[in-house]
Symmetry: D2
Subunit: 275 residues, 4 copies
């Protein structure tokens, strides 16, 4: 029993180690972006039979996991995903976790990862998950709306460039009968115009008619949805009766449109706070 | 098509946003500790019917998830867990992810979280997982072996103090018929000796005979295990034959012993590097 | 001689210690403010016979030292000083010292400190400097023009509040015959209106007629000054002749006006970059 | 007067900008090194007629300024300087300025810079200071005694290499009649042995007989010096009398010896704390 006392005292003797923790508070009045990337997803996608160039199940699961993150952190004002990456933008005035970078990035990464496994079977009904996948995350700050929008534009431009490449690449392989290294060779040095042309003349594919989800990625924002619910009330001196009450509820809405131009931001002007 | 060109060019125009990323390299020659904590696990454990004061399934699942982290990151030289937390210690000379704090903490958190869901059903055979849980993580650096050992001692002393409290608390509730608030009241102001005494005189429980896993937590280290494998070889001008080859393989070993004193570290002297 | 070789080789053996330096690059597109404060200037001002409540020589020397900083770092777009402190604002697009915080703050502090000693005798003609004084510095980032202007407003409001207090305090001591502790007592709990009233009714001082330099501090900005210089030129096939050339030169201009309101910023709209 | 009230209230409205300051506490239990370097000292030394390859006055002034830093910050356990640089090592347990990096580096830089100007005339009796010089500083942390000693060894090896080069270079120019570019050409590709040989055979200089101050730099540490002071005391019922009291006082001692090997550290074993 003396021993136990000893440990209790020992704890306070050891507690000085807490002071080795450092503060990583994010600068105020900046957008906080947490971006996740799948680790070794090239291999993961092969082992799980992802369809090429795009697997609708995988994109759906990524979006579902991102929604799970947003549901748990309402200060995410917009999220954008493509391929095996997803970015979560916290509003510049957020005070979640006192703006501590490590808390923000690990909580996002954790929620996303556990959701990815949890919802796997809803999207991959025939393909079991072979092992737990991993994502890495980082935090980046953007001081102005212009910088934040340029960040999102950068990711969407990246989506476009990769998707155009992959669309032609897999057409050459799957329909053109080329080996993967032949397809790579064929595409070396080509610009966007060449690739569009190849798709059209050789495979009769109009790239701009491909699904927007593949070409534009997935943008998640909060929508104010009006909901009519029925409530039973019993006013004094009256019989109980049913009344219809309109409630405003935040709901996540997914978009597959251009977010580089002005239109999206004008139509959803509440997403960003002014500088 | 001109549009696509535009986007390609746009990408390079937006790419300046990469320069807003900051460097978070950990100081060299320090131990890097990543500690995870379950978020809202009080509620989570109630919703999933965890046994009190200790749920062997939950502790097993935590340890299994931690092993999954170690299997993916061999530079973790020791890991220690108790309750809903787990600490991973990277050796001071590690160069994994170029010692970038965000990469280290998010990768650990992600692997742990996805493993927790992935292996859930192996441990909770009767209890389905109701929603994806979340863990948060942090990075702390320790410059000396003394500091690192004091950190681990701090966590193990914490384990002891909490477990002793919980053991008495739940004995009072489950066997003594007290309500939770009555039990709380009973324990207010008691020291370790009082609690040991209550356990013994009222419930005939010798605290020091409780399972070590509960009292000491779980320490994971790498063991060098010798393995004899059988290989078929065919020397030139000879028939194929079977040979026995001894290979050394790293395997994770779990311990439930004291790590505050010297003995554990003397017996496993290879775990820490010298100052 | 072998020894010397040894040292040369030794150097490369030791050079690994460079990797312990960490990166402290300031976030892009933010204003970088370096603020200096005199260390123990209460004692320093007494030992050097500073006049109370304001010493014109000391304020002049502070401003001269600040100009020396600006002359050496043209990316300072505005500087503001009062009492024993001075703030230097680097334009948000600066790339000086690659935006490394330690370089920026130590260079500013060093130039200011050496200038303070160097120019001392120009301002304190009768009072020798008794020992080398010291200033400490810090870096703060501001992401928006609003934040930056609020920072400067904060410092100017601080100047006002302190100067009003000091003006009454020293009037009570120097003209009212109170001891310093009696004066302190008298002022406890008074608001600005009370202090204005005391100055006016007891000492016939209208606070708003006090020198602006004392009430508003010193704001330094760059002015574009046109300068006409005479040059000798010799066109081909002509005699040498003198021509007048107008050159634009940046010069530092000192202001002692309000910088909280809009007027100053409208009149000097080039000082800040747009968000 | 209402206006003044307004400013007082305004101040609290603006005070939120304080929250943009970030914490830069240095990791505990690490040595904190602040290194200063002269800015543009090549030009500065030419403009002020520094003797080549070494100017005793300049080295003396550097050391005097460093002593001024140590006198103001007793937690500096050792300082080392050579050429236009000086490193200050704070003991690993220091809590000065709560270990805030910006405070430590700016205070050191400021004190050094103002001292350099303040003491200039004591060392450069014939040469006036033409303008205020500037130094930049940085902070580096070292977790172990080995790392710290390797840091100091790195600087002393650097001193040796540069001084050997400069000694030959200026011998070739000043005594050998070469131009500076001819001397540079002559030295290209030579190793330490070649340079020693050139010094000896062409100029009859034995490099190892050059002053240690030039070859080894300046190391400053604290010495405990016993001092006998005379005090007048008047015991009750006795006449006043003089007594001799021995006091221990810390004094700075300068060394120009090797600090790469063990000897210096064994002779001054109190300088570093154990790991």
């Amino acid at each position: 029993r003396a021993f136990s006392c000893g440990v209790a005292m020992a704890k306070s003797k050891f507690e000085y180690v807490r002071n080795f923790e450092t503060d990583d508070t994010c600068l105020k009045n900046c957008y906080i972006v947490v971006r996740l990337d799948g680790r070794n997803f090239h291999k993961f996608s092969e082992q799980h039979g992802f369809l090429k160039p795009n697997d609708k199940r995988a994109l759906g699961l990524m979006a579902r996991s991102a929604e799970s993150v947003m549901d748990n952190m309402e200060d995410v004002c917009v999220a954008y995903g493509q391929s095996d990456e997803f970015s979560f933008v916290f509003k510049r005035s957020t005070n979640l976790f006192k703006r501590r970078a490590s808390k923000l990035m690990t909580h996002v990464t954790s929620q996303f990862s556990s959701s990815f496994v949890f919802y796997w079977a809803e999207y991959f009904t025939e393909q079991p998950l072979l092992y737990p996948p991993s994502f890495d995350g980082r935090v980046v700050l953007y001081p102005s709306n212009r910088n934040l929008r340029d960040y999102l534009s950068w990711r969407q431009a990246d989506c476009h460039i990769n998707n155009l490449y992959n669309t032609v690449f897999w057409a050459l392989v799957q329909k053109g009968g080329l080996s993967t290294s032949q397809a790579e060779e064929r595409l070396r040095g080509t610009v966007a115009g060449d690739k569009n042309e190849m798709l059209f003349s050789e495979f009769n594919i109009n790239y701009n008619s491909e699904p927007q989800q593949y070409r534009k990625g997935t943008t998640l924002i909060w929508n104010m949805a009006e909901e009519v619910v029925t409530k039973k009330v019993k006013p004094a001196n009256e019989n109980e009766k049913e009344v219809h009450v309109t409630r405003t509820r935040r709901k996540i809405a997914a978009h597959h449109c251009d977010i580089i131009g002005e239109q999206f931001w004008e139509e959803h002007s509440g997403v960003l706070e002014s500088d």
